[in-house]
């Protein structure tokens, strides 16, 4: 950051670099921070199964349990990015398998739109992953987390929407 940009921030003014900021290298020891939103009935159970099957995956994900993928407001995703998440996983039952019969269909519509929209705002699309992972897909859960972690490791820290106190 230039003196002026720093100063601009100090001034509290609503400013931002008007040119593309050069990619800043990830700080030493940085590990991707991934927030997962998982439906209770499928993906959370799938993650449990990965556990009971001792399928290892990177420890970068932290899962928030919700009743259904239909509960996952895209605003939660943006909030996670704001708070410093480097990646977000939104996951629920396969279409047709929703415990509440239709929740994931609504989720699908919402995220078909929201993923594109968040990308449009300049967030790398790889940072938001939406996946259907059933209760029997412990392996898929582990694979998804591994792939997501690696993709985000390659991208570096998410600074686009981040805000620190």
């Amino acid at each position: 950051m230039s003196v002026n940009e720093k100063a601009a921030q100090a001034a509290g003014a609503a400013t931002g670099p008007s040119t593309v900021a050069a990619a800043t290298p990830a700080p030493e020891g940085w590990e991707p921070k991934i927030i997962g939103f998982a439906c209770n009935w499928c993906t959370y159970a799938g993650a449990d199964l990965a556990g009971t099957s001792r399928i290892q995956y990177p420890p970068n994900i932290r899962v928030i349990r919700v009743p259904c993928s239909g509960r996952i407001n895209p605003q939660f995703v943006v909030r996670a990015f704001q708070r410093g998440a480097d990646g977000v996983l939104v996951a629920g039952c396969h279409p047709g398998d929703c415990h509440y019969s239709t929740g994931n269909y609504f989720a699908r519509r919402r995220y078909l739109l929201a993923t594109r929209f968040i990308e449009y705002l300049g967030v790398e699309p790889e940072r938001l992953e939406v996946r259907w992972i059933s209760g029997s897909e412990g392996q898929k859960f582990a694979d998804t987390v591994r792939e997501l972690t690696e993709k985000i490791r390659a991208l570096g820290p998410q600074r686009r929407l981040r805000e620190t106190l």
Binding site: V3, A7, A8, A10, A11, G12, A13, A14, T15, L165
Partner: protein, 344 residues
């Protein structure tokens, strides 16, 4: 003492200033010219009638960190001070006039606003007289004019292919003698005064249309008038007028905390917002647009002059005239109220 400075030298000076402090100047971006931090003189717009936002953004920013707290078991509070030096270039007379009005509120009275005071102290104000007042400008209504230097430390007047400059404060003189050394040349005093006079007498057509004389007294008895009901109906309750106004200064304090620590901010607020005076109990002494619209204009044209003596809380910058989405602005209100009074 009057001086002149060539445009190139002025740019050099600004570039030099940008190196060690925040340089704020009119800059055009996506079709909007506003005061914003710039990195160099190359980003500055020199040809503009007025900026979309005012100097208020930098002396009394829209959101400002006041303190940092840690609540991890115990409580500690650390005051955050706005210590960075800044220089604001290209301020129009209306903004330069607004600073004095803001000073009265924020620095006057029993308590002085330390954050504002610090920013005032740390900011060098460079004015630039108006060549072409916009058709929404009416500074002359209040006795200001296109050459009004107000709170400027240094005032510039475009004079043909150069700028006439006048350092008005110690800070201004330090600039001329310090970073500006060698860039300014002495001016012919008489010619300079003539330039200043020409600016001061420059025609501001809209200003002639708006006569504010005596409105404070008229409004003393105008609180209950039907007029407020009539005009407030079209207000959409946005904060545009208050946020672009160089003299509106309402704010709120708000906390944000995570993980045992946080910040307390001050953010602008707007008396046009429905929840502005809503209390925790749900009661709201200004429940409808009528009370809120009336409050805004009564404050600017009656409460403020009564409280702080004389001047109105408006400098005729015309931003609300140009930007209010529904054409509900102070110049219109002044004209209306005087018209209503005339009819009465």
């Amino acid at each position: 003492m009057l001086m002149t400075i060539a445009p190139d030298n002025l740019k050099n000076l600004l570039d030099k200033l940008a190196r060690d402090r925040l340089l704020v100047a009119p800059s055009m971006e996506d079709g909007v010219t506003r005061l914003k931090p710039v990195h160099s003189a190359a980003e500055i717009a020199f040809d503009y009638s007025n900026t979309a936002t005012s100097i208020k953004d930098f002396l009394f920013p829209q959101s400002e960190d006041l303190l940092r707290f840690v609540t991890d078991g115990t409580l500690s509070i650390e005051e955050i001070k706005p210590e960075r030096a800044q220089v604001a270039f290209g301020l129009r007379p209306c903004d330069l006039a607004s600073v004095a009005l803001m000073d009265k509120v924020l620095l006057g009275g029993e308590f002085s606003d330390a954050h504002y005071q610090t920013r005032r102290n740390n900011t060098l104000l460079i004015g630039l007289a108006c060549e072409n007042p916009a058709d929404t400008c009416f500074c002359t209504t209040y006795g200001y004019n296109p050459g009004w230097a107000g709170a400027a430390d240094v005032m510039l007047y475009k004079d043909g292919d150069k700028y006439l400059a006048e350092a008005l404060t110690d800070k201004g003189r330090e600039l001329v003698g310090g970073p500006g050394e060698g860039l300014f040349k002495p001016a012919d005093e008489a010619a300079g005064e003539a330039v200043k006079k020409a600016y001061a007498e420059k025609d501001v057509p809209f200003g002639k249309e708006v006569d504010v004389q005596g409105i404070d007294k008229i409004l003393d008895g105008f609180f209950y008038d039907q007029y407020w009901d009539d005009i407030s109906k079209k207000c959409i309750g946005c904060g545009t007028c208050t946020y672009v106004c160089p003299t509106c200064h309402c704010f709120l304090l708000t906390d944000e905390a995570r993980g045992g620590q946080g910040l307390r901010f001050r953010c602008w607020d707007s008396c046009m917002f429905a929840n502005y005076t809503k209390m925790a109990s749900g009661a709201n002494p200004r429940p409808t647009k009528k009370e809120r619209v009336r409050q805004r204009f009564m404050h600017k044209l009656n409460y403020y002059p009564n409280r702080y003596g004389g001047s109105y809380l408006c400098t005729g910058c015309g931003r609300c005239v140009a930007m209010c989405p529904v054409g509900l602005h102070i110049a219109g209100v002044i004209k209306d109220v005087k018209g209503v009074k005339a009819h009465a």
